[in-house]
């Protein structure tokens, strides 16, 4: 078993723990702002996971996906935060 295989197993476990925690916060989150924030964290962990897979398997096929996600991931959270009214406190 090479070093990078051990790294892929360990990093996959850690990405999985982080993603499960973010999903738990999306389900439980008391307000919609918590859910938007947890969705952002889930997206960032997915970007890190895609990049780690590219670095381990030594290809650059999904680098463009990372670029598009970095450009347009901002739209959802900003529109939720911008158009959130004061009566939506739950």
């Amino acid at each position: 078993m090479t070093f990078l295989q051990i790294v892929s197993i360990a990093a996959g476990a850690m990405f999985g723990i982080g993603a499960l925690a973010a999903i738990w916060r999306i389900i439980r989150g008391p307000s919609i702002l918590d859910r938007a924030l947890a969705t952002d964290v889930l997206l960032a962990i997915a970007m890190c996971g895609l990049g780690a897979e590219m670095a381990i398997n030594r290809h650059t096929d999904t680098l463009v996906v990372l670029l598009v996600l970095a450009m347009f991931a901002v739209v959802g959270s900003i529109s939720i935060a911008r158009f959130m009214a004061k009566q939506d406190v739950s």
Binding site: T2, F3, L4, I6, V7, S8, A10, A11, G12, A13, M14, F15, I17, G18, A19, L20, A21, A22, W24, R25, S31, L33, D34, A36, L37, A38, D40, V41, A44, I45, M47, C48, G51, A52, M54, A55, I56, R58, H59, T60, L63, V64, L66, L67, A70, M71, A73, V74, S77, I78, A81, R82, M84, A85, K86, D88, V89
Partner: protein
Amino acid sequence: MNTAFEVFAGLLILVSGFLSMAAGFGIVRFPDVLTRLHAATKPQVLGLATVLLAIFVRNPTWGVASTAVLIMVFQLLTQPMTAHMLGRSAYRTLHVRRDLLIEDDLGRDIAAHADD
């Protein structure tokens, strides 16, 4: 020589995985939106930076380098906007635990300009 690069890239990937796990723990354990906002920015900036550096170490070409720099620039442009809007909206819609704040500059300014 080749294995040294592999070990370096592997360590960078482990750093990114640890930051993702730390963000997950922080977003579950912290009490309100502003403190969760603090925990959430770890994989978004430093985790992505280490992973992009690992990709460049494994594929050392100019195209990969320029695309990685572009990804990091867009991430650093857009994530502060998201954090600012979420924090402002959390403050205005009373999702802030007042008893956890040490200093409340915005509340003082709002109270000072309440008549305007």
